[in-house]
Symmetry: none
Subunit: 249 residues, 2 copies
Amino acid sequence: MLKKERQAYILHQVNLHNKVLSSLLCSEINVSEDTIRRDLQELADEGKVIKVHGGALSHSFNQVYFPNNGVYSQNHKKTIAEKAVGLISNGMFVLTSGGTTIIEMARSLPAQLKATFISGSIPAILEYMYHPNIEVILIGDKISKNSKITVGSEAIAKIKQLKADICFLGTNAIDVEHGITDNDWEVVQLKRAMIESSKMVVCLSIAEKINSAQPIRVCGLDEIDMLITELPANDPLLKPYIDAGVKVA
Amino acid sequence: MLKKERQAYILHQVNLHNKVLSSLLCSEINVSEDTIRRDLQELADEGKVIKVHGGALSHSFNQVYFPNNGVYSQNHKKTIAEKAVGLISNGMFVLTSGGTTIIEMARSLPAQLKATFISGSIPAILEYMYHPNIEVILIGDKISKNSKITVGSEAIAKIKQLKADICFLGTNAIDVEHGITDNDWEVVQLKRAMIESSKMVVCLSIAEKINSAQPIRVCGLDEIDMLITELPANDPLLKPYIDAGVKVA
DNA sequence: GAAATTCCTGCACAAAAACGCAAAAAGCAG
DNA sequence: CTGCTTTTTGCGTTTTTGTGCAGGAATTTC
């Protein structure tokens, strides 16, 4: 394979999937990692891709791909994400909110999964978009620059027209007394709509946020079906939620 | 075998397979590698093939894998982008399509500009999102993974509810006879809706796309108000468009 | 913090290109 | 056919280019 040919192939992959991993490319094309690295470097020098640790990104993608942006520990989120993707099966309609846990989940989706994902979260959409078998429906409206998600009455109206199989909510605070709470009024409206439009509601929450409360109420515990944390299901911290009728994982 | 005959054979192979290896050719035709190299050099000088280390590539190979890349067209797009942003003033409602030229425009927006941008193009939205003073409205619908833009009846319906001050269209092909044409049916529907929903329609097009046509018609020249290219306004290539009543810049 | 990846640098080796040169082939005039 | 010039080709040598490998540094991950 000619060098130029190889670079063309790489560029094609970058534009198609928004990102490439050097490790994958080198086994795919059957050349050493050094060669791939040098190719990526050259393409980067020409401004055609953006080189990052482990591979390269397309130009439009790099801005939102913040690898470890989270305030909280990443591997907890990965644990949660993996438990969550286990609930999704082929053919499902899946509604997701925004939040870093949700993005982690989007990254953990197995390649062979065929499902339809609906979301207004830009970073989540980017992850879904380069997944080979997932169909993506974007909820449009005004973009909230803070949370990088579309908010507003149009988005809510659109969600209310749906009936998804399952809905995943990134959770800012949860406690037995107040249920799920949050601090952004517009995001709360959206989450409420999502809950109403889903057959099953799953909350993703790292343990630190359990038994904390925020000013605005999203819903009571009776409205959610499952709570996923990084803790084992028998952790005493989760006992009150199980008693309140919430499944945990 | 005569030299002319040999070169014709090589050219034929290049056009057939999009690439040739010098090593293969020389064993095939039974001449030294030097001869092949000299032949390729001549063909390259005549612009019939693209010579690379180890062989040669056809022109169409480059067009498929490096669609108008290169420093030149990047600079051209920047020129176009800068002309385009000059048309936007504070408080405007701006509708934009997808395409690399539009993204370049998004990158060129001055920081102090206060306007509302409406688009279904994910890469464009990403650019707008990080701009300090721009309000962003995202058009939702199913995402086309190819063009990274939302397409479908919902998106079109939403656009038709608007009346934007100005609309910027990335253009794939334009000529006097057929007007604006494109090759993606869904994108064309979207562009048609955008044109209808804008007080002013501006097409952004690099010069190489001028006087070319694609299978699907977007609109006639009478429906666009302005054509922006990297060429000076008095370039003869633009004359027919000016005659047809289109402003150029 | 420790372990695992990934990256960078210099180096060696092979493949290909460039260059000069001379032999071979072709064209041409007598 | 012969002698001459011009073009084309092949061959050695030198340069350049492309690739892989080994190490140590840097970064990410757990």
